[in-house]
Symmetry: C2
Subunit: 262 residues, 2 copies
DNA sequence: GCCCGGCATTGACCCGTGTCAATGCCGGCG
DNA sequence: CGCCGGCATTGACACGGGTCAATGCCGGGC
């Protein structure tokens, strides 16, 4: 029952370049700003008045571009900032004392991550780029200070943390392989760009092994479940491209998982 | 694989008295105050200066006493307040569309709950008293307003939410029955009063069926695992009284679960 | 102090999922 | 263009944990 994501802990030439250095400040009102961000409603600036969004711009920084498999931060490092996905996708992984990797979350466009570090001030998970990616960097201290002044920011931070909590309650639930897979595919359909609508076709940013780890399945079990979903005409799958061909059928499979948890 | 906590959804005479009404305001500086709370360090008042703790006292209210199986709030109700356990213990449960109950959390002395409602403003879980119990009531709106003024309160709220998140990441993990059970017993040993030290002997506030649901096990599997732990001399168990007789042995069983997640 | 109902335990058997191993596929590189 | 390495799929089998059913135990009520 002990399994690893990827090829089993020995990552060959693990890319371990410190990647969280800041590249540039965000020019206020420019296209690198929270105040003008097209997906701000799914991220920190939600509900902020323009003047407050500009104050957020001043603390936000752009991280430097990351390559696939590069680490943004490692478990054990002190919390310096929390991050939002500007481009690409990430996974959060937990490594146990035997070196087994468990994927505990995926993060796509506009999603905030690193929040599990707030409790102790130390990152519990490592964050790894799944694709070419970059992030918005919100230095934690500055965020806290700003949120004492800007109520909407404090509230949104709490909301996003609460959302993460709900998601984890969902995956912690006792569901069958097919139920978890269906819920996962539906969740990504809602979260992959373009945001705000359900994408019937999207590209999975992660390998099968990562999905399996996240869903607590063996890679083989995932593979079989995907094959079954195709035979039933629920989805069409070509490599990493998912096409949902029977939305209601998928929803039926995920029925037992409360929709609010996706 | 579908199972229910309790006797299977039909609770017979379900106690459903609205129980969240406030009984009394907390007299400032009295024994019902956050500023004088002996377990405040595990709860909201952590890090607050005395003057700020008194401001928290003014928004905090005492809930009226609850009997075992009474609901504090139901899933679907709007978030009015978040709660801390003043006395007794609670469980948070999720009920799916088929009426199956899943226990998603236990809350004992000094612990905050109801945080999953922050995201949408609606409770996702129901909270049920496991024993005779009462709570401290923190009206959400007032808490937010106060936290814009009191940095330490905003930070502590985030920390406690983050802690909840970490706990759920832990139970979402892919572990064996024995590993989850060992981690659960150790977690309670740390959380049951007296706080601040590990209790080698404590009384389980919940029936087996609730533990099983929380750990995603059948009641029978839990029963067998407990019997095995006793035969191995890890614990001694009489009804609901747990005595840890081999702490290192228990820790060894829970080894794969990062201690930070307990 | 006895009876009753619900919780807990134990045993027999089964099913979903994991494990192991072999094969297939695809994309990158020379 | 063909080889190579990693990812994905498929099949055979094993095992952890679930299900069903019977029995045991304890605490509350009269």
């Amino acid at each position: 029952m002990i399994r690893c994501a990827g090829n089993g802990g020995d990552e060959g030439a693990e890319v371990d370049i410190r990647a969280s250095e800041i590249v540039s400040a965000s020019p206020i009102g420019g296209k690198h700003s929270c105040s003008a961000c097209p997906v701000g409603d799914y991220c920190l600036p939600r509900g902020l008045r323009p003047a407050d969004a500009e104050r957020l711009d001043q603390v936000m920084r752009i991280g430097r571009p990351l390559q696939p498999k590069q680490y943004l931060f490692h478990a054990g490092e002190p919390l310096k900032a929390i991050y939002a996905v500007r481009h690409g996708a990430f996974k959060s992984v937990l490594v146990d004392c035997d070196g087994n990797e468990q994927v505990v979350g995926f993060h796509v466009h506009s999603e905030l991550f690193g929040l599990d570090a707030i409790f102790s001030g130390v990152h519990q998970c490592s964050a790894v780029a799944l694709t070419a990616a970059n992030v918005c960097v919100f230095p934690y201290k500055a965020l806290i200070e700003l949120s004492t002044d800007v109520v909407a920011l404090a509230e949104q931070l709490l909301r996003l943390l609460s959302k993460d909590l709900i998601t984890n309650i969902g995956i912690a639930g006792d569901y069958l392989a097919d139920e978890r897979l269906a819920a996962f595919l539906l969740s990504l359909a809602q979260r992959m760009p373009p945001r705000g609508e359900l994408s019937r076709r999207y590209s999975l940013p992660m390998p099968r092994a990562d999905i399996a780890s996240y869903l607590r399945l063996a890679g083989e079990t995932l593979s079989r479940a995907l094959a079954r979903f195709q035979q039933l005409g629920l989805i069409d799958l070509k490599n990493r491209t998912v096409t949902i061909t029977d939305l209601d059928g998928l929803r039926q499979r995920a029925r037992r998982i409360p929709p609010a948890l996706l």
